[in-house]
């Protein structure tokens, strides 16, 4: 497939300002977005893909999608190649459109170097002619000062999930128990000891209602993946793992109308399953991001492995243990026991799914006839704003 003829540039806008002492960088991005959309005869709600580079303040696309109130984004790209980023973005947008991933891509650039705005990638502190003022993340003055960390923002998700759905600490503990059952067979796992529900709920409270053993490990390390064309794949000697579907979504604060009981998986999951032409019931193995037990629980519900609010029952009594439960998950021991390299667990989720589909997981945790798997992750915080991504993978005979 080529992009030739598959995409059109239908809106373009150059902000008239050359000196913006009275506007933030976030605001300039939004004004540019509006200008280009008006030029095209479209509105913000028509945008289903957002592209930005290192000049976007705060948490990049997440901060700007939040600021602008983009509601329908299903494709994001924050490729940063300096001044050429936006030309690369056009090419990437065309690829995404040609692949059916989106229809209306918004690309923005803005900044205020004349007014103290730092170069992209630096602290974006104020200064210059706006002494004492920041031009960084638009949300910073209303968020970071309150001591939010991963522990307490995910803690708020767990607290609300318990309040609305009656989820218990014991049910959450079963997620860690399952991960530990798997990790015991992984010689590289950071934590190899098998734990019980009692061990988890009796471990010290870190941030209510999350205990020490509800939290993932902190590890150095890394990972890498190789994705090839079908022709190259055929020429190689390794078992073929085919990508059937992929979905992504941001979930932001929605102007204050937030709901902490669900994640972006409610959008990324169905997109991936639809493209793959399968349903959650078809999945033999699932890699589910597990920065905390509550992370896995919410995403299992959101991906459709069970109904919203029933995750607690689903994971209890070994529901996630390979060979025992309905949904073998994180058979490497996951982030909870094995590895969470540089506090980013997405790549290890894909790696273990590949092992399962190749039949190369540890024999004690290998899922029989594992021909269809899902890998899902979120980045940022479920309690504040995050990006979700789901892929469906198939073993090709």
């Amino acid at each position: 497939m080529s992009i030739k003829g598959k995409a059109y540039l239908m809106g373009a806008y150059e902000h008239p300002t050359r000196d913006a002492p009275d506007k933030t960088t976030a605001q300039l991005h939004a004004e540019c977005a509006r200008g280009a959309l008006e030029d095209a005869g479209l509105g913000f709600d028509d945008v289903d893909a957002y592209f930005c580079a290192g000049d976007a303040p705060g948490f990049g696309a997440m901060s700007m999608i939040d600021y602008m109130g983009l509601k329908n984004v299903r494709h994001m790209d924050t490729t940063e190649t300096g001044g050429s980023s936006y030309i690369a973005h056009v090419g990437h947008a065309a690829q995404a459109i040609a692949a059916g991933k989106c229809q209306v891509a918004l690309i923005t650039l803005a900044g205020r170097p004349r007014n103290g705005g730092a170069r992209p990638g630096a602290s974006m502190a104020g200064g210059g002619r706006a002494p004492g003022l920041s031009d960084g993340a638009p949300e910073a003055g209303f968020e970071s000062i309150y001591g939010g960390s991963t522990h307490n923002t995910y803690g708020m998700c767990a607290m609300r999930h318990m309040y609305e759905h009656g989820t218990t600490s014991e049910q959450l503990a079963w997620i860690k128990v399952a991960a530990s059952h798997h990790a015991q067979w992984n010689e590289h796992a950071f934590l190899k000891n098998v734990v019980t529900v009692e061990d988890v709920v009796n471990s010290r409270m870190i941030s209510d209602p999350l205990h020490l053993l509800d939290c993932c490990v902190v590890t150095d390390g890394g990972g890498a993946l190789i994705v090839t064309s079908p022709e190259i794949a055929k020429s190689l000697k390794r078992p073929k793992v085919k990508l059937l579907g992929a979905g992504e979504a941001p979930k932001v604060q929605q102007g204050g109308k937030l709901d902490l009981t669900y994640s972006g998986a409610v959008w990324s999951g169905p997109r991936a399953f639809e493209e793959a032409g399968v349903t959650p019931a078809d999945i033999k193995y699932a890699s589910i991001y597990d920065s905390f037990t509550i992370t896995a629980l919410m995403q299992i519900e959101d991906l459709g492995f069970c109904k919203k609010g029933e995750g607690g029952k689903f994971v209890a009594d070994g529901g996630l243990i390979s060979g025992v439960g309905k949904l073998p998950f994180n058979t490497d021991g996951g982030g909870l026991c094995n590895n969470h390299p540089t506090n980013r667990g997405g790549i290890t989720k894909v790696i273990e799914a590949v092992r399962q589909l190749r039949g190369e997981a540890h024999p004690k945790v290998q899922v029989a006839n594992c021909d269809l798997a899902v890998a899902h992750g979120t980045g940022g915080s479920l309690g504040v704003r995050h990006g979700a991504a789901t892929i469906v993978l198939e073993r090709e005979a």
Binding site: G147, M156, Y163, S207
Partner: protein, 132 residues
């Protein structure tokens, strides 16, 4: 855990867009933003309405009353245990904040709270919430 929680909040990063909010806080007022095009109040305050994308947003003084949507008490910090929370303002939006002057065991989802503008070191006061 019966001791009342406090939390020293650091000075906020103030932007051009948020300066009126923090200037008002210096005068003891808690402001929110409302869009005059669609009528919706939003949080955090910004120039462009996140719901209808109009730039017809205005500052409005709020009594700063609401209920606890969710919270989590981080047990260890340099200043002791503290509560991070979302408060649902009576005007609608959820606000990320700290809840102070309350015992950890007494804090519950659904509890009525009201704003308190707490001084910061070298910056304007910031909104935290206390039991109503």
């Amino acid at each position: 855990m019966s001791e009342l929680m406090t939390r020293p909040v650091p000075a906020p990063a103030v932007t051009l867009e948020s300066k009126p909010f923090f200037d008002a806080a210096e005068e003891g007022k808690f402001l929110i933003k409302r869009c005059t095009a669609c009528g919706e109040a939003h949080w955090y305050p910004r120039t462009i309405c996140p719901f209808c994308h109009s730039d017809k947003t205005v500052w409005e003084e709020s009594p700063g009353e609401g209920v606890v949507y969710s919270f989590s008490i981080l047990r260890k910090s340099p200043s002791g245990p503290f509560a991070l929370a979302y408060v649902t303002l009576d005007e609608g939006p959820n606000v990320l904040t700290n809840i102070v002057d309350v015992a950890p065991d007494a804090l519950k989802i659904g509890a009525r709270v009201r704003v308190k503008l707490q001084p910061t070191e070298g910056g304007p006061p910031v909104p935290v919430f206390v039991p109503a």
